[in-house]
């Protein structure tokens, strides 16, 4: 078993109770200490410490060359990251909101994702694009989307979405060590969630899902903030004797198919939950996978519960209503299990 797997359960070494944003910072810091080629570029990351405080304090420790604040130039920043990655550095580039990724999308999709392939193996692009998405803060339509499905659809990109502080630390370390371009998608409402985080070097391999709760009646596959909702829903369902298994994908690409299929073969029921809108969401990929490969193990059709197909509205009650909440998960789970 590789050392990172052994470290996966945060019970071994010492753990600290950290905010998600602090866990990310720790990962960045340890990787930057370990490898002088790692550096960070982005807007407001220096004295301000980053829009979500992920890089707070790092400027003092690493200096302005490695915590390199940029003007508001998304495609310039990401493109410079591509160039640096192609020539021997390991940049971590920050896009403040995933809604802005469109400004840089050529460098992500046409350049970073494809250089390795287009050049016949002459190059690799060890670039991490850290960004965040999701709704729930009244930031409205241009600052609240969940766009991970866009990036899962590009051959050559990896897509990672941590739900907990421990996973955030371990996955960011892995993403930085990975030689491929990784879209590392955080959630704006997770930054201030707290959880136990292993101290010291901690790396979680990409492509491994995590069964956050075992159960025998229903498999709930989910990621990012909905993981927390699914766990809450599972507690409520348990009081009625329904034991839901909650699988946190952690990586969307590469996808841990085996964990999903093994679970569905036992529970015989699948529910995928994601904040992103239903249409074209990554839940379709999971449902198709299960329908194709576990058809004869299903006692019910695979189901998805996802965001309503609308731009994110501003008013708080409207904003809440367009995204799956705990009670929605409970209701749909009951419908499935009967």
């Amino acid at each position: 078993m590789p050392p990172s797997e052994a470290a996966a359960a945060p019970t071994a070494a010492a753990t600290n109770e950290l905010f998600y944003s602090e866990a990310l910072r720790e990962a960045l810091r340890l990787e930057m200490l370990r490898d002088p080629r790692v550096f960070v570029m982005g807007e407001d990351i220096a004295e301000h410490g980053g829009a979500f405080q992920v890089t707070a304090g790092l400027l003092v420790e690493f200096g302005p060359d490695r915590i390199r604040q940029t003007p508001i130039s998304e495609i310039g920043i990401v493109g410079a990251g591509v160039g640096a990655a192609l020539t021997g550095l390991r940049p971590v580039v920050e896009l403040m909101y995933i809604d802005f990724s469109g400004l840089a999308i050529d460098q992500i999709v046409n350049q970073a994702a494809q250089n390795r392939f287009m050049f016949g193996g002459q190059a690799r692009v060890p670039l991490v694009v850290r960004t965040q998405g999701g709704s729930g803060r009244g930031n409205a339509a241009q600052h609240s989307k969940s766009l991970e499905a866009w990036f899962t659809h590009v051959a050559g990109l990896k897509v990672v979405m941590p739900a907990t502080p421990a996973d955030a630390k371990g996955l960011l370390a892995a993403a930085i060590r990975d030689d491929d371009p990784v879209m590392f998608i955080e959630h704006k409402l997770l930054y201030r969630t707290k959880g136990p985080v292993p101290a010291g070097e901690y790396v979680i391999p990409l492509g491994k899902a995590d069964v956050k709760r075992a159960g025998r009646d229903l498999t709930i596959v989910t990621w990012s903030r909905e993981v927390l909702f699914a766990l809450e829903a599972a507690e409520m369902l348990a009081r009625d004797g329904i034991e839901a298994e909650v699988i946190d994908l952690r990586s969307l690409v590469p996808l841990d198919r085996e964990t999903i299929l093994a679970s569905v073969r036992r529970t015989r029921r699948l529910l995928v939950v994601h904040e992103a809108i239903l249409r074209g969401g990554y839940g379709g990929e999971i449902a198709a996978l299960v329908a194709e490969e576990a058809f004869d193990d299903l006692d019910a059709p695979p189901r998805r519960l996802a965001g309503v197909e609308t731009p994110i509205p501003y008013a708080a009650h409207l904003e809440r209503g367009v995204v799956p909440q705990v009670e929605d998960i409970v209701r749909v789970a009951r419908e499935i299990v009967g």
């Binding site: 990401v78 410079a80 192609l86 350049q111 287009m118 193996g121 050559g156 990409l206």
Partner: protein
């Protein structure tokens, strides 16, 4: 200006090689051996040759969709270039990239680019690497007049200026961005004047005379290598062929093309001053031409023996499995 005899002849040889490569690949295209399309650099050779003469193998360039010239000036293997156009496993990109994505990272060529302006930030990032690592490597970004209006141009020049990156931006103004004449794309007469807006030197050269390009590039590369930051060079040129092979070119008249071709040919221009300055005779230059032609035929013959590109494997998409 003075130029070393050996350097002068090498500049001539490089330009002649580029011209012959474009002619030869045009013929291969006519024989239906090249898939997709190609974009001829004929007429612009002095720019690639004059700039790359100052670059080491560990200096980087990024190029455009019209990238054969830069690739050759960066000392590429002609056989591997042809093999790539022919979709062979032995091509630079194993047949996966084609003309628009041809790259040679062993010589610092970070690739031709199918996206107008796509290479500008990448060269900027390469320069950032040099700065971070404290090396004296430089990066050169080649792009056209069309790219000078892309957002990447503006964002990259600004980043390079504020961070004083060792990058030289070379804008090849061949008078047309696809079908749009430069006069209708710019409200300024001199694109180089944009450099002032970003806080870097801007230099305007006649891209017909390789000596002028060579001199301007020499200064800019030396400045970058010494830590003096970026320069924008705008070289006037004229594209002899259409935007892409087969372009009906309804946006310029035959008379215009013929007139420019006659007056704007960096190779005949070079021949003129090489012979009139007594650096070489016509016979010596003809001899260089023959050597280039023979080398070209050997390269084509070698390329045509290569196996077709092999099936794609997962390791090609992701380096970390």
């Amino acid at each position: 200006m003075t130029i070393d005899r050996a350097d002068a002849l090498e500049l001539y040889r490089v330009m002649r090689t580029i011209r012959r490569f474009e002619q030869r690949s045009t013929t291969l295209f006519g024989e239906n051996k090249i898939w997709g399309t190609i974009h001829s650099y004929a007429g612009e050779e002095a720019i690639a040759a004059g700039v790359c003469a100052h670059l080491r193998d560990d200096d980087w360039i990024t190029s455009t969709h019209r990238g054969h010239g830069h690739c050759i000036a960066k000392r590429a293997d002609l056989g591997k270039m042809f093999a790539e156009l022919l979709g062979r496993e032995t091509g630079y990109c194993r047949g996966r990239g084609g003309s628009m994505h041809i790259a040679d990272t062993s010589k610092g060529n970070l690739g031709a680019n199918g996206i107008v302006g796509g290479g500008i930030p990448i060269a900027t990032g390469a320069a950032l690497t040099a700065k971070q690592l404290g090396s004296d490597q430089v990066a050169v970004s080649f792009f056209g007049d069309g790219a000078a209006n892309q957002g990447t141009f503006h964002e990259s020049l600004n980043l390079a200026a504020i961070w004083k990156l060792p990058v030289v931006y070379v804008c090849e103004n061949n008078q047309y961005a696809e079908s749009l004449p430069a006069g209708r794309a710019f409200a300024v007469d001199d694109i180089a004047s944009r450099a002032i807006g970003y806080g870097m030197p801007g230099v305007h050269v006649d891209g017909r005379d390789v000596r002028l390009v060579h001199a301007a590039a020499g200064e800019a590369v030396a400045l970058a290598r010494a830590g003096g930051g970026p320069t924008l060079i705008v070289a006037e040129a004229y594209r002899h062929e259409g935007h892409y092979y087969g372009d009906p070119q309804q946006y310029r008249t035959k008379a215009e093309i013929e007139s420019w071709r006659a007056t704007f040919d960096p190779i005949t221009n070079a021949r003129a001053w090489l012979t009139s300055d007594g650096i070489a005779s016509d016979a010596e230059l003809d001899a260089i031409d023959r050597v280039v032609d023979e080398e070209m035929e050997r390269a084509v013959a070698w390329a045509e023996t290569g196996p077709l590109a092999s099936p794609i494997t997962p390791e090609e998409i992701y380096a970390t499995q």
